[in-house]
């Protein structure tokens, strides 16, 4: 049992404890209230932040959609339609339309309407008059560069609700023609924020319009360029052929001489053969008359008659004459064959060919046109086959040989033609012991119409045409020259595994 004093002490203790507990509870409640208020404020802020964030997301999604043109080859009209669709959705408008005049159709007006509720385009020709009236009467409440947002009160023939706002936007297209976009809203308010976003989307959209216009211009320019390239290619082919004919003309005298020689001895041999046949015929007639007169002839008379026309000599000489004529005819036929392959027009006739054969043919053709004092020394080993145009390469080599001959005129000299094959290439060196070239000539060597020959003798196209031909064969040409010593042209062909 507790005494009264102990009881009183205990009561005092419990009172103090209770007071501390009360005090602690009040402190805790205050803290709780503080936390609660803070939580409420935080919640409010979060809700506001979330609303703003949702708006920002919507704004950003709209701007991203404006910026991303789905099809890079989109037409101007489709680009405008895309922009109208996404802007109609963003501004929560009920309908939208556009007018896009072009140089071909400058009087184009509003004709098609985009309806937001079913997200489709409809042709509504009467819309033009309705929009034109609004464009004239409406006055902007919000204006931003090209955008204007006007309060309105009108009904569209194809829509039930009256429209409260008209959003209009205009911009320049080709030839300073003005395009228009119109959006119709039945919303009671326009959010100020929307206007800022439209301002940004405007720049993006106009940028896309510019890109599309530039692209269309580029496509047109590209088509023109392609046509020009085709014409140039045709002209180049003509030029190559013309140059070939010029070289052929220069060679004609030599070739004629080359053909004349065998032809003249064939002709004189034929004359001799005719004489021989006449003599044999005379002898034959004499012997026939003798047989008719005497019934027979003796061997002495027969031998005497043959001896009189020197029959033995005629027979042996006839064999020689025929062999010689056959050789002459063969020579003429060879010259004609080489010329034929050279003059053959071959811009694209790349075939598998032997560069050594081509060089030998070119040497044969060129040789006849060269000065008699010009000697051609050649070292042409067996070479790998390459894909090339025989006629074009003959033209290049003949040109080099003719130039070498001209460089050594009038005294003549030696032209060396040396072919060599490495692992990846075939190298042809054509060198002469002529006058060589100075720096100026060397620098202009491949320039069209540059020539060192007297007026009327050189076209100035030979090496430039050769350069173009070699380029089309992926071959390179280099020059080593020394004044009064000589010049070497080095042509390198790539060898590909066939």
């Amino acid at each position: 049992m507790m005494t009264n004093e102990e009881m009183s002490k205990r009561i005092d203790l419990l009172e103090r404890k209770l007071n501390r507990e009360k005090c602690a509870r009040e402190t805790a409640e205050k803290a709780l209230e503080g936390y609660s208020k803070q939580a409420w404020l935080t919640n409010l802020n979060l809700e506001e932040a979330l609303t703003n964030q949702t708006k920002r997301t919507r704004d950003l999604e709209y701007l991203i959609a404006c910026a991303s043109v789905k099809d890079p080859g989109i037409t101007l009209e489709d680009l405008i339609r895309e922009f109208v669709e996404i802007s109609c959705q963003f501004t929560q408008c009920s309908a939208a339309s556009y007018s896009l005049p072009s140089p071909e159709k400058p009087d184009t007006n509003f004709e098609y309407v985009f309806l937001m509720n079913d997200k489709t385009w409809r042709r509504e020709p009467q819309i033009n008059a309705e929009i034109q009236e609004q464009l004239v009467t409406s006055e902007g409440q919000y204006k931003n560069k090209n955008w204007m947002i006007c309060p309105a009160d009108f009904k569209l023939s194809f829509h039930d609700n009256p429209m409260n706002w008209l959003y209009r936007f205009h911009f320049k297209v080709d030839n300073n023609l003005q395009a228009w976009l119109c959006f119709f809203s039945d919303q009671p308010e326009v959010e100020e924020e929307t206007i800022y976003v439209l301002n940004t989307s405007e720049s993006i959209f106009l940028n896309n319009i510019q890109k599309t216009l530039i692209k269309a211009r580029l496509v047109r320019r590209n088509e023109e360029l392609q046509a020009t390239v085709k014409e140039l290619q045709f002209a180049q082919n003509q030029l190559v052929q013309s140059e070939k004919m010029v070289v052929l003309g220069q060679l004609a005298a030599g070739v004629a001489h080359e053909i004349n020689n065998p032809m003249s001895f064939i002709k004189s041999n034929l004359q001799i053969l005719t004489d021989y046949i006449d003599e044999i015929e005379t002898c034959q007639n004499y012997l026939t008359a003798k047989v008719n007169e005497e019934g027979t002839i003796d061997s002495t008379t027969y031998s005497q008659a043959l001896s009189n026309i020197d029959y033995q000599f005629i027979m042996s000489d006839t064999k020689e004459i025929l062999t010689s004529a056959a050789e002459g005819a063969k020579r003429v036929s060879e010259i004609i064959r080489d010329l034929k392959s050279f003059t053959h027009r071959g811009s694209g006739d790349f075939t598998l060919m032997d560069l050594g054969d081509c060089l030998n043919s070119a040497i044969k053709i060129a040789q006849s046109g060269l000065n008699k004092n010009c000697i051609i020394e050649k070292h042409i080993p067996e070479l790998s086959m390459i894909h090339a145009s025989n006629g074009q390469l003959q033209q290049v080599f003949i040109n080099l040989f003719v130039n070498a001959g001209d460089a050594m005129a009038p005294n003549g000299g030696t032209i060396k033609v040396i072919a060599e094959e490495t692992q990846n290439s075939i190298i042809i060196r054509v060198s002469d012991t002529g006058c060589g070239m100075d720096e100026l000539t060397r620098n202009k060597l491949f320039t069209p119409f540059f020539t060192t020959k007297p007026v009327g003798q050189g076209t100035g196209l030979g090496l430039s045409v050769s350069f173009a031909i070699l380029e089309s064969h992926e071959a390179t040409i280099e020059v080593e020259t020394e004044l009064n010593v000589g010049t070497t042209f080095i042509v390198t062909f790539p060898v590909k595994n066939l």
């Binding site: 203790l13 103090r16 404890k17 501390r20 005090c23 602690a24 509870r25 805790a28 803290a31 709780l32």
Partner: protein, 183 residues
């Protein structure tokens, strides 16, 4: 200091001794808070040290022993306030790492103003762990007690000592925890 430490100190004194001692201590100390502690408030560190000193004076116990005993008692009571995932305790060593790398980090997130002790693990083997205890409050003995309470929970036989201690004039407190056998 977080109010929970002082609220729990009151509960500890009342349960180990009696409520008369706690009342006597608070009356005598005449603290700014008057001992009306709540877990949601913060209090001056000195109130805690004054109360520990009063237990020492009144019961003739060394300060270190009081803190160790309170720490051991406190661990289990703090555990009831912890979130569920913090209650998974594999063993003492891994929980000490968890306390430093997870619990202290989360407490700091919830209460940025809280002053948290820092543990640096210097050496660890299967049987022994050496860690540096850093706190400007110097409650290394309380920490020893909490580790001891943790060992009770994990049913591990541990010996906990300090090879260096700021209360002995050292520059830092190094706590050595040694496992005697498996649980």
């Amino acid at each position: 200091m977080k109010g929970v430490i002082l609220v729990k100190l009151g509960e500890f004194v009342e349960s180990v001794f009696d409520d008369a001692l706690w009342d006597e201590m608070l009356t005598e100390a005449n603290l700014p808070s008057q001992g009306a502690y709540t877990t949601v408030s913060n209090y001056d560190d000195n109130e805690f040290f004054q109360l520990i000193d009063l237990i020492k004076t009144k019961k003739g116990l060394p300060n270190a022993d009081i803190q160790r005993a309170y720490g051991e008692w406190l661990f289990e009571h703090l555990l009831t306030l912890a979130p569920e995932h913090a209650l998974i305790i594999k063993d003492t060593f891994s929980f000490l790492h968890k306390a430093q790398n997870l619990i202290h980090v989360e407490v700091k997130k919830l209460h940025p103003e809280a002053i948290i002790p820092n543990f640096t693990f210097i050496h660890q083997s299967e049987q022994a762990l050496t860690m540096r205890y850093q706190s400007h409050r110097g409650l290394c003995f309380l920490c020893e007690g909490i580790i001891s309470g943790l060992a009770i929970k994990t049913k591990e036989q541990l010996s906990i000592s300090q090879s260096q201690c700021v209360h002995k004039g050292d520059t830092e407190c190094i706590i050595e925890v040694l496992k005697h056998d498996d649980k």
